[in-house]
Symmetry: C2
Subunit: 338 residues, 2 copies
C-alpha cells in the first residue's frame, strides 16, 4: 500500500504564520474562529492562507486536541453490502446528516461476515473515529469487547430486536414479519409460502421470517412451503426461486419474500408465466423499494424508514444523549399484489 507522487512539502500553519507576520497560535485561532484576535490579524492571516493555498491538516489537528476537542471528526460506518439499495439508503441518510455537522464518513463493507466486521471495527478504531455505526445487533465477542473499551459512541442500526451496545436505531424486524403475516391472513390467504435468500448471513431477514411464522402460528397456521436460495437477495434469485416453488407446490396462494428485490423477481416470474397476481398467487415483499411503486400493480410490501434511520443515527450520535433504542417503526404499503 504505497502511492508514489510529488512529495513536495505542503503548506503548514507555520508557513502561514510567517507569511502573515504573526504567531502560529494566532493563525490557528483565526482559522478556526476560536479564541480572540484583532480584526487586522484576522485579515492578514486569511489573506496569507489563501495566497499560500493552505489546507489544514486534520490528522495533526485531531492528534493534538484529542482529549478536549472530543474526537477526530471521522465517523466509521460498517454496512453488510452495497449491492442491495437498502444499505446505500441508510448511508445516504447518514452522510447527509453527518456532512452538515462537519463529520466525514469512513465506510467499510462487511459482506455479511461477522469476522470481516470484526476486522473492520479494528481498522476503523485505529482512525480514532468520534463514533462507529454498525448494522444489526449481532457481532463477534471480540467485536463487542473492542467496542465496549473503545470509549466512543456506537450505534447499531436497522434492527431493534434485542439489546444494543449503546444506541440502537431502527425498527423491529420481527414485528415487520409479524405484521406482514397478519396482512396476508387478513386477506384470506391460507397456503402461504416463503421465498428467501441466505438466512444464515442476513439475520434481519431471519428475524422477519421468525415474526412471520409466529403470526401464522397464532392463527393456527404454518408455512405451506418455502424455497431458499444460496447467496444474497436479487431479482434473479427471486424469479428462479418462485419458479421452482410453484413447480414443486402448485397450490400456494401467497408468497412472502425476504426482500423487495426477491419479490420483484417473483413478480416478473408471474408475468412471464401469465399468472394473475394476486389471483393465481399473491406476492408480498419487504422494504418498499422506490421501484416497486411504479410497477403496473404496486407491490404489497412494508415501507421501512431507511433514510430516516440514517439521519436519526447521525443526530443521536452527535446529540450526546443516553444510550437506548429508537424505534422508527414501519408502515404497510398496501399495493396491489396481495
Amino acid at each position: 500500500m504505497t502511492i508514489h507522487q510529488t512529495p513536495g512539502r505542503l503548506v503548514t500553519i507555520a508557513d502561514v504564520a510567517r507569511e502573515a507576520g504573526v504567531g502560529e497560535s494566532t493563525v490557528s485561532r483565526v482559522l478556526r474562529g476560536h479564541g480572540s484576535f484583532s480584526k487586522k490579524a484576522g485579515e492578514r492571516v486569511l489573506e496569507a492562507a489563501t495566497r499560500l493555498g493552505y489546507v489544514p491538516n486534520r490528522l495533526a489537528g485531531s492528534l493534538a486536541g484529542n482529549a478536549a476537542s472530543g474526537g477526530s471528526g471521522l465517523v466509521g460506518i460498517i454496512i453488510p453490502s452495497l449491492a442491495n439499495i437498502v444499505f446505500p439508503d441508510l448511508l445516504r441518510g447518514l452522510t447527509g446528516a453527518l456532512d452538515v455537522t462537519g463529520f466525514q464518513s469512513v465506510i467499510g463493507v462487511s459482506d455479511y461476515d461477522p469476522e470481516r466486521e470484526e476486522a473492520l471495527v479494528s481498522g476503523l478504531l485505529s482512525w480514532r473515529p468520534a463514533a462507529l455505526v454498525l448494522t444489526g445487533l449481532e457481532h463477534t465477542p471480540a467485536t463487542v469487547t473492542r467496542l465496549r473499551t473503545a470509549g466512543i459512541r456506537v450505534v447499531e442500526m436497522i434492527d431493534t430486536d434485542g439489546p444494543g451496545l449503546d444506541l440502537v436505531v431502527g425498527f423491529s424486524n420481527r414485528a415487520v414479519g409479524h405484521a406482514s403475516a397478519r396482512h396476508l391472513i387478513g386477506r384470506g390467504y391460507r397456503r402461504i409460502a416463503y421465498v428467501g435468500h441466505d438466512l444464515g448471513r442476513d439475520l434481519r431477514a431471519a428475524k422477519r421470517l421468525a415474526g412471520f411464522e409466529a403470526a401464522l402460528a397464532e392463527s393456527g397456521m404454518a408455512l405451506h412451503a418455502s424455497e431458499l436460495v444460496d447467496g444474497p437477495s436479487s431479482s434473479a434469485a427471486g424469479r428462479a426461486a418462485l419458479d421452482a416453488l410453484m413447480a414443486r407446490v402448485p397450490d400456494v396462494d401467497a408468497v412472502y419474500f425476504s426482500n423487495d428485490d426477491m419479490a420483484l423477481g417473483g413478480y416478473f416470474c408471474c408475468l412471464g408465466h401469465g399468472w394473475a397476481v394476486p389471483g393465481r398467487v399473491a406476492l408480498f415483499g419487504c422494504h418498499a423499494l422506490d421501484i416497486t411503486a411504479s410497477m403496473p400493480q404496486p407491490l404489497s410490501t412494508m415501507r421501512t424508514p431507511r433514510l430516516e434511520i440514517g439521519r436519526t443515527c447521525a443526530e443521536r450520535l452527535t446529540a450526546g444523549g443516553p444510550p437506548g433504542t429508537v424505534d422508527l417503526g414501519f408502515e404497510l404499503s398496501e399495493g396491489a399484489t396481495a
Copy 2:
C-alpha cells in the same frame, strides 16, 4: 460537532513498551513487522499488546511517517449520489479492492453539485488522503487548482470523454449513446424519442444523448421527440415521462432512456397500458442494472463495467503508474425490448 463520551486515555505504544519491557521503537517495529527484532521481543510485545487491548493510532502514524511512508492510508471518494445503484456499484468495486491493500475509504456525496464537490474536495484533502477519487471530468476551476496542488493521485471515474487531471477510468459515454442509436437504427426504428432526467446535472447522461443524436444525424435522422423530467432519474419518473410522451407523440416507435431506472419505469408504463414491447414501442436503457435481466423480456441496454471501474481505480491508484486514461468499454445487452 461534539460527541461526549468516556474520555479515559487509551493504550499507547509507550504503555505496551513498558508492559513488555522493551523500547517504543521495538514495539513499533514488531507491530508493523517492519525492521528486525528478536523472536523473544516479538512475542513479548504481541502478548503485551493483546493483554492491554492496544489499538494503534493511525492518526499519529500518518502524521509521523508523512514524507516517507507515502500518505495516510485514507482514500477520499466523491460520488454524486447514492440513490442510483450505479454509484454504490462503483463504490463496491473501490472499497473491495482498497480494503485488501489496507486503505480506508472516506466518502462524500456531492448531489451532482460542483460547488458541493468543491467543498468536499477541500474537506477530504484536510485528511491528507493518499488519493482522491472523483466522478466525472467536470469540476469547478477552484477544485481543479486544489487538486493540482494537492500532490496526490487523482482518479476521475466513469467518463472518458475529455481530458483528465491524472488518471481516468471509465468508458466513453458518447460512444455508449452512439452505439445505442446504431442498434436502434439497425433494428429499423425510425421515429425514435428520448426520455431523460435532469441533464444539467447529470453530465454523463447528456454526453450519451449527444452521442446518440450524432449517430442519428449520421443516418440523416433526428430525435422524433423527447421528454425530460426535472430531478434525478427514477422508475416513477420514467413511467410518467413515457406516459406523457406517448400521449403527446403517439407515433413514436422506439424510446432511448437516460438510464435503466427510467427505462424500467417505461416498461411498467407499457405493461400498464397493455402496449406490446417492442411491437408498439421499443425500449432501450443504459447501465444494465441487475434487475433488468430478470424481467419477462430482458431490457435492451448497455452493460457498463461499474464494478470493474471501481476495482481498476483502486488498482491504478496504488500501482504508481503514469497518468492516463483507461477505457474499460461497454457491451450491448441485447435483451428483448428493442
